[in-house]
């Protein structure tokens, strides 16, 4: 598996991954009805951020975006988001993308990485983040409307470098 920078030609393979994740409504606080063009605006980060893809044998397995978490006085903290295609889950793609984002942020001088809204029911993501050194800073009760489980908590997670 290789992780490389996103190019325009990748969107045709990235969009189905993003579309399936947001339409499932069980992990991301994104508008599930976003069009391809709206999703592209959100997912493809302009500099100083970056968007990457994980590929193996010509197949696009997953994608990540990373950059400053907030502008101005918050811009020394990074954030990142990860999505893995359904076929490729449980094979370490998310972990590899998160490790890539951490390396990228550290080498670009960020002081840490913050995740602003991790649904507490997204156990596989929470486990990856904790294994990679993130801790739960706090949990906003009921802030995520899960399609099957109702309102569940949202974690804010942080890892200092």
């Amino acid at each position: 598996m290789e992780i490389r920078e996103f190019t325009d030609a990748d969107w045709a393979q990235v969009w189905p991954i993003v579309r399936d994740v947001i339409r499932a409504r069980d992990t991301y606080t994104y508008d599930p009805d976003m069009t391809s063009e709206q999703a592209r605006q959100i997912w493809v980060e302009p500099p100083p951020g970056r968007t990457v893809v994980a590929v193996a044998d010509g197949a696009l397995l997953g994608t990540a975006k990373m950059g400053p978490n907030r502008p101005g006085p918050g811009s020394h903290v990074s954030t990142a988001s990860f999505m893995v295609g359904q076929q490729a889950r449980g094979k370490g793609v998310g972990t590899a993308l998160c490790q890539y984002a951490l390396d990228w942020a550290r080498s670009n001088g960020y002081a840490g990485m913050q995740f602003n809204a991790v649904a507490e029911t997204n156990r596989s993501a929470v486990e990856i983040y904790e294994r990679l050194g993130f801790t739960i800073v706090g949990t906003v009760p009921g802030a995520f409307e899960h399609p099957d489980l109702g309102r569940v908590g949202v974690h804010i997670m942080y890892r200092e470098f």
Copy 2:
């Protein structure tokens, strides 16, 4: 003091308040170099959000914006932001604006209100929010670069309705 909906004609008085707040770099994680037009894009909320102003004797004392905190599965939680002009501080304008936003969010069916990034050194804001029923969900260490105090923590605060 009256709190009413923002109209286009108000921007000439709102912008100096926003400009002074963001250039001070001590409370908001906004780009301090934003132009008037960029700030207007951020501050004037389209529906379902709302932007309001606090006025007294023809003077514009402060302003607030409010709306959903996140799209999709996060859109039942509201958020809000408040800015008070330097001349009008310490006179209850911030409290009145926050109370207005809470009433607005409750009557629009939101389940609670979340603040995503409150600099811990912004004691007057933290005190207003706590008095109005918010609690600190967690604090991201060093996530705010204060011009005098260096890196200080950022609170996530929440009030359930």
